[in-house]
Each structure stands twice: as structure tokens, then as C-alpha cells.
């Protein structure tokens, strides 16, 4: 059956942990993880609730394939209402804690209420208890991790925690697990901290042993691994360069958002690329990249483990940063690099370390800093407000100093922690915020990759690349090449990718597998593990059901079709260079068709027929 059948309900207000059976009827309709937890959230909270109030809930959810030998079967997601966007939040993370929760015998953990004083959840198989976290409140994720391992005398504990950024109210704080993996987006860490929940420490020794058809499962997962090993991206590009394989590629197609998305190509891209991370540096002859690393069960291993040059100004006198830790992924490298015009690889790596150490999203941080730099350039932010920091595009010092302040919620970091939308509104220029539904853009300029414009505009969690990664088709040619500058056919593609991705997430698998896998590779793995009809067709329908459920939550939370849009800059200011020169994003050519294909009204509301068809 692969689900454990158990939900841990943690009432933080009353300090009570209870086991409840998983709703198997819902499991058959929403699969697991993202989908199933969304169903629970929709049933249990009022969508209009204040995200940072005790009435909001936060769910940590695994999928049926989490903790199994299926490649990448280690994912978990955090589902809650976002304080950044006011929409549904679903942040997915790798590392090892997802599998550990599953190995401890739980499909999901539902956190309710707010603890009177700081606590952490200690979970060892069926034993669950809330313990005082006063000693670690006010400490970083890394310090918390060390303290918990020492406190419990157990190096095998897996830990997820929030850092000082979340405690200080940064609206895009994430939850960091295993030191450098993150449920990073939409402020799920802010919600966790608002509940006075500092960390979750898990040890699971029960394992996953209830596979429906073990022989078929081993066969299906082995076949899947072979496909990943043979794939050009999953077998070579990602292990070698990580997601950073994209830096030069995206820059060449003219879709590299640069200097708060004023430009679409960055002259310094080569210096902060995946290739650059392999280059020996002059000081010690060692490259930035130490090794690639895998999350639980992953046969791709795209993770980056890096070091910073010990002579670099950021860490010269800080030996605590001399060791290796999680290195730059493409999204972080873009946001901390080209979007603020900085090409200093060591400065970027340091800022990225800080994002992990204190738990805040490098995409939202970098993008917010970019907006602040434009406001500074326009004279709308002065040095008196930044505490003397010169917020100039291209300044590595500005990047690392503001990252330190944001990590601790101090000085101008407090303002940056509010995100680009609130920052730009505060200074009277909301048009300079590069956000959708209040969430900052990822690393693909939709003027150069048209489908991504529709992806961003319609994403249920605000601007996000992981809801329908049409870059795969429009740039990489997977599963087939389409022209990134053409809008025709993109509405159908975005819908298909959104539905498929929702299914992949809900299984507990990594979306990067889809650089080689289609649902035809995934369906047999789920079908061998789980009861129910898990054909490709049913997975597509399950994905569509999840998508519409998320949409319903957002509509009930007060969002409308009017929120399915892009900043004026991307719709009116043409790209200045590269293959997309002269182009804006033609969202208006794609959105009506998308609504129609979705079976939504012209205002973007799911029609009754659509909801009936999906059983919603």
C-alpha cells in the first residue's frame, strides 16, 4: 500500500500529539504529499484565515513513494496558507527528512494552533512529543541542528528547522532540512515560526515494507533508473553541473533576468555558471565545487557541495564558513547574481550559505534586493535608510551585507524581509516589484520564453517555475522542442505540465525526473506500490483535480482572475538584446485559451461542469 495509513496530529496550543488514520478515500483521489495535504488543508482551515494566526495549519507531507527505492523517492512538502502571497503555499524539499518521517511510520504531520512558548517536535517512530526549544530560539538552523544532535546523543536524527529570519518575520523564510535542503518558497518557515515551532527532529527505524507488489515494484523502479541514467540531462548534465547547467544556456536564449528584470542577458553569467564552479581558483587551486550530492534515493545527484575561497573578503576572518556546504543551484545563482548584477562567485556562495544557515529563500531575497537597488538608483531609497550601505547593482558587498542583515532581521534587512511587493509599495513604486501574487520570479524571463509567462501568471503559489516547467520543451527540447518565442500551443502545454507536475509531486518524487521520465515511466512505479488505479490517464486527472482544488482555495481566499497577470515591465518593456530582442510577453494571447482549456469561465473561475467532472 506504500502509504503508512497514519497521520500525526500535533496540537501546539494544547501540547498534544495524536495518531489518526489516514483518510484512504482521499488518498485514492489525491495520491499523497502535495495533493493529499492540500485536500486536508482545504477541509480544515478557512481560506480567509490570517496565515500567521494560530488558526492557520501547517502540514508536512510525504508521498506514497517517499522512503522507497524509487529513484528520487525522498521528497516531502510543506502545505499551508502563505503569508507572502495569501494564496496556498506548497514548498517541496529533498534531503533526507521526508524519508525519515515515512520510516518513522507517518504519511504526514499536521500542526495546529500555536505553542505558548517555543517548542520542537521530537519524533521517534510512534513516540512523538513536544519539547522546550527555549535554548535554541534565536539561534540559526545550523546551530539548532548541532544542538539537537548533541541533546539527543544521536547523530542519526534528521532535522528540519527554522532560523532567525523566520523568527524575525521575514515573509519568505523557509524550513531547512539536513542543513542545506529547503522547503524554501512562499514563507512556509514564517508560518512555522509563528507557531512557536522551532524544529522537527526525527528518527525512523520502521522502514517502508508494505509495497503492494514488491517484484513488480523492483522491476518498475529499476527500469525507471535506467531511463534516468541514459537521459542526457538526468544522466550527465545534472550530475556534472547541477541545475547550474542552465546558466549559460538561459543567458544565450536571452531569458536571463538581469538587474531587476530590466535586461534579459547578463554579461557576467559565465563567471557564476556551473562551468565556473568547476574552475580551479587562483588562491588555492581548488574549484568552488567539491562534489555533487544526492538526496535520499536519488540516482541523479544534482546537488552541489561547495566551498568559498578562504581568502575572500566575506569569510577571511570567519573560519566557521571555511568548510563545505550546500552550493549554488541555478535559481540561487541567478537571484543572488544576475538579478542584482553581481558576478562574484564566492560572494554568491557565501550569501547562499547564509540563506541555508538562517532559512530564507534566495530567490525572493535576491529579487527583493534587486528591486531595492533599482529604488536606490532612482533615489527613492537613501543611504540613511540602508544604514549606510550603498545598494548599487553589481556590488558584492551590498549583497553579502544585506544577506547578513536579512538573516538576522536587523536594520534594512527587516525591510528586505518583507519581500519585493511590500518593499516597492512602501516606496511608492509597486510597478518595480517583479512578482506574481506577491511572490518573486524565478530565473526565466518570460519575454524570452513565452510559455513561462503563462506559467508564472497562473501558478497557484505565485511566480514559480516548478508548477509547469515549459523551459523543458521551449529550451531543452524535452519531450519535444517548441519555439520559446511562439505563444501558439503554450496554453495546452502549460495545462498539461501543471497537471503532470502535480501528480509527480504528490507521489513523493522529484520533478527533475521529468527531464527523462514521462508519466508512462512513473505510473507503473506508483501502480506497483499502491492500491488503486494509477494509470497515466488517472494520474493526469488526479493532477488536474489537485490543480483545481488549489485554485478553489485561492478563489475562496480572495484571489481572482485579475491576479493571473505579470508586472507591467514584462508586458510593456521589450527585451533589449538577444534572440527575444523587441519582444514582450504576450500573456493576453495565451491566457483566454488557457482558461478555456481548463474549463474555467472567462474570469478564471472553475466552472460547475469542470468541478463536477473532477468530483470537487
Amino acid at each position: 500500500m506504500a502509504w503508512t495509513g497514519s497521520v500525526l496530529r500535533v496540537n501546539l496550543t494544547e501540547g498534544r500529539c495524536e495518531r489518526k488514520p489516514l483518510n484512504m478515500l482521499w488518498a485514492r483521489r489525491y495520491l499523497g504529499q502535495r495533493g493529499l495535504a492540500t485536500k486536508y488543508l482545504c477541509e480544515e482551515i478557512d481560506p480567509t484565515v490570517d496565515p500567521l494566526s494560530p488558526e492557520n495549519k501547517m502540514i508536512m507531507a510525504t508521498g506514497p513513494l517517499t522512503g522507497t527505492m524509487a529513484s528520487t523517492g525522498g521528497r516531502y512538502s510543506v502545505i499551508t496558507k502563505s503569508p507572502l502571497t495569501g494564496a496556498i503555499a506548497c514548498s517541496n524539499s529533498g534531503g533526507f527528512i521526508g524519508a525519515e518521517i515515512k520510516n518513522a511510520g507517518w504519511d504526514m504531520i499536521i500542526f495546529e494552533g500555536r505553542a505558548p512558548t517555543p517548542v520542537y517536535l521530537y519524533l521517534e517512530n510512534e513516540q512523538a512529543e513536544l519539547l522546550p526549544a527555549d535554548a535554541i530560539w534565536g539561534r540559526s538552523v545550523w546551530e539548532t541542528d548541532e544542538w539537537l544532535h548533541r541533546q539527543h546523543q544521536n547523530p542519526l536524527l534528521r532535522i528540519a528547522a527554522v532560523g532567525r529570519a523566520a523568527e524575525q518575520g521575514c515573509l519568505y523564510a523557509g524550513i531547512i532540512n539536513d542543513l542545506h535542503r529547503a522547503a524554501g518558497r512562499s514563507g512556509v518557515g514564517t508560518v512555522m515560526a509563528s507557531k512557536n515551532l522551532k524544529a522537527v527532529a526525527v528518527r525512523g527505524t520502521l522502514g517502508v515494507g508494505n509495497i503492494k507488489d514488491p517484484a513488480a515494484f523492483i522491476k518498475a523502479t529499476e527500469a525507471g533508473k535506467k531511463v534516468l541514467a541514459d537521459g542526457a540531462v538526468t544522466g550527465q548534465g545534472l550530475p556534472e553541473y547541477g541545475t547550474q547547467v542552465l546558466m549559460n544556456v538561459i543567458n544565450e536564449v536571452g531569458a536571463m533576468p538581469t538587474r531587476n528584470m530590466r535586461e534579459v542577458q547578463f554579461e557576467g553569467a559565465g563567471k557564476i555558471s556551473g562551468e565556473a564552479m568547476h574552475e580551479p581558483r587562483p588562491s588555492d587551486g581548488k574549484p568552488n565545487l567539491v562534489t555533487n550530492a544526492a538526496c535520499f534515493g536519488c540516482t541523479i545527484a544534482c546537488g552541489r557541495i561547495s566551498t568559498i575561497d578562504r581568502g575572500h573578503f566575506t569569510i577571511e576572518h570567519k573560519p566557521e564558513y571555511w568548510g563545505a556546504s550546500g552550493g549554488l543551484e541555478f535559481e540561487a545563482a541567478w537571484a543572488l547574481g544576475s538579478d542584482i548584477g553581481v558576478d562574484d562567485l564566492d560572494a554568491l556562495t557565501y550569501a547562499n550559505f547564509l540563506c541555508n544557515e538562517d532559512g530564507f529563500d534566495p530567490i525572493s531575497f535576491g529579487s527583493t534586493l534587486a528591486a531595492a537597488m533599482e529604488l536606490y538608483e532612482l533615489g527613492l531609497i537613501g543611504k540613511d535608510e540602508t544604514g549606510g550601505i550603498e545598494l548599487r547593482f553589481g556590488s558584492a558587498e551590498a549583497l553579502t551585507t544585506t544577506a547578513e542583515l536579512t538573516a538576522r532581521g536587523e536594520g534594512f534587512g527587516k525591510m528586505l524581509g518583507l519581500g519585493s511587493k511590500r518593499l516597492c509599495e512602501h516606496y511608492g513604486r509597486p510597478d518595480l516589484s517583479m512578482t506574481v501574487k506577491g511572490q518573486e520570479f524565478p530565473a526565466y524571463d518570460p519575454r524570452g520564453i513565452q510559455g513561462m509567462g503563462l506559467t508564472y501568471a497562473t501558478s497557484n503559489r505565485g511566480a514559480c517555475h516548478l508548477r509547469s516547467y515549459t523551459v523543458s520543451s521551449e529550451v531543452l527540447g524535452i519531450p519535444e522542442k517548441t519555439d520559446p518565442l511562439v505563444t501558439e500551443g503554450k496554453a495546452a502545454m502549460v495545462k498539461a505540465f501543471q497537471d503532470a507536475t502535480a501528480a509527480v509531486d504528490s507521489a513523493g518524487l522529484c520533478v527533475f525526473t521529468t527531464f527523462a521520465w514521462t508519466l508512462a515511466d512513473i505510473a507503473p512505479q506508483i501502480a506497483a506500490a499502491c492500491e488503486g488505479d494509477w494509470s497515466v490517464e488517472n494520474l493526469v486527472e488526479t493532477g488536474e483535480r489537485i490543480w483545481n482544488l488549489e485554485r478553489q482555495f485561492n478563489m475562496a481566499a480572495g484571489l481572482t482572475g485579475k491576479d493571473d497577470t505579470l508586472p507591467k515591465r514584462l508586458l510593456k518593456e521589450a527585451a533589449k538584446t538577444g534572440p527575444a530582442k523587441g519582444r514582450v510577453n504576450d500573456l493576453e494571447k495565451m491566457l483566454p485559451e488557457y482558461y478555456q482549456l481548463r474549463g474555467w469561465t472567462t474570469d478564471g473561475i472553475p466552472s460547475k461542469e469542470t468541478l463536477d467532472r473532477l468530483g470537487l
Binding site: 522512503g67 522507497t68 527505492m69 529513484s71 533526507f96 524519508a99 520510516n103 542519526l156 542543513l179 525512523g204 527505524t205 520502521l206 522502514g207 517502508v208 515494507g209 514488491p214 523492483i218 533508473k225 541514467a229 550530475p239 567539491v290 562534489t291 555533487n292 550530492a293 544526492a294 538526496c295 535520499f296 534515493g297 536519488c298 540516482t299 545527484a301 546537488g303 557541495i305 561547495s306 566551498t307 568548510g323 563545505a324 556546504s325
Partner: protein, 154 residues
């Protein structure tokens, strides 16, 4: 030909496929906590290292066992625990200098690598060939080859 597990840590990505394969083969469950092979992460150095029993010729565990529950498999050279005979006294876990014999509290006996009877599941599951099953007399071959390459005239 006697074969042995050859472990090349520099190829390991820390994915734990070996641990799941081991626990599944031996316990019928995907469960790293019950694996006879363990992958260690040295975070600050960015290194991973799988580690398991090396099947000592003069096996301390075998000699220490008071009830002769650990026996030599002539075919594979592995030292195997006969769980029906094991009394769970754990003396072998003390005797083993490498820590690769461990107590399993669920069964009250010890567990250690038995090379899966000559077809080790960990080696088959490893996606990067960090664990291979090779001629026991030449586990150093890859390393020798690498150094031989260095010795070639430039």
C-alpha cells in the same frame, strides 16, 4: 574466484540506494536503519563513504562468538550469522574492530554483511559504481591503474 566488495568513496553521492537494497534483500523492507552497509556523510569536507564488513580472513567476530553462531561460507568467503543459533550476547559487536557487526533489537540477534550469498544487492543498486563486487585478490586494481597512469612518461 573469490570476490569481495570494493568500495570507492570518491564515487559515492550519498543516495542510500545501497542501504535500501540491503535492508530489502535481508529484511524485506526499505529501511536504512536495518542496513548492513552504511553510508557516512562528512559534511564539512563534502565527502561520502559507504562502509561495511570486509570479511576478515581471521574474523574476530567469529572467534569471539561463544555459541558458534558466526560461520564461514566457503563459497563466498563471507562470515555469516546463523540467527537461529545467535543468542544476542553482542560479544561479536565488541570484538569487531570496525563496528560492522550490529545488534538488531527487533530480532534479538546480530546482523552483518553476508555478501547476499555471492550476489550483493548493494553493489547492484549503486548508481555510480562506488560499490562493486570484484576479484577479492585485486580490489586495488582501479587505484593501481590510476597511479600507473600518473607514472606514464609525460
Amino acid at each position: 574466484m573469490l570476490k569481495a566488495l570494493q568500495i570507492e568513496p570518491e564515487k559515492c553521492t550519498g543516495c542510500l540506494q545501497c542501504e535500501m537494497a540491503c535492508s530489502y534483500e535481508n529484511e524485506g523492507v526499505f529501511n536504512p536503519a536495518k542496513s548492513r552497509i552504511k553510508v557516512f556523510t562528512f559534511h564539512d569536507e563534502g565527502r561520502f563513504s559507504p562502509y561495511t564488513c570486509t570479511q576478515c580472513a581471521e574474523a574476530w567476530c567469529l572467534h569471539a562468538c561463544p555459541v558458534e553462531a558466526i560461520v564461514l561460507n566457503d563459497l563466498t568467503g563471507s562470515k555469516e550469522v546463523i540467527s537461529d543459533v545467535c543468542v544476542g550476547c553482542k560479544v561479536c559487536t565488541i570484538a569487531c574492530p570496525f563496528g560492522t557487526v550490529n545488534y538488531n533489537h527487533d530480532t534479538g540477534t546480530v546482523i552483518k554483511c553476508d555478501l547476499c550469498g555471492g550476489d550483493p544487492a548493494c553493489a547492484k543498486a549503486c548508481p555510480t559504481d562506488a560499490i562493486t563486487y570484484v576479484d577479492a585478490d585485486h580490489t586495488g586494481l582501479q587505484r593501481m591503474r590510476a597511479h600507473a597512469a600518473l607514472a606514464l612518461p609525460q
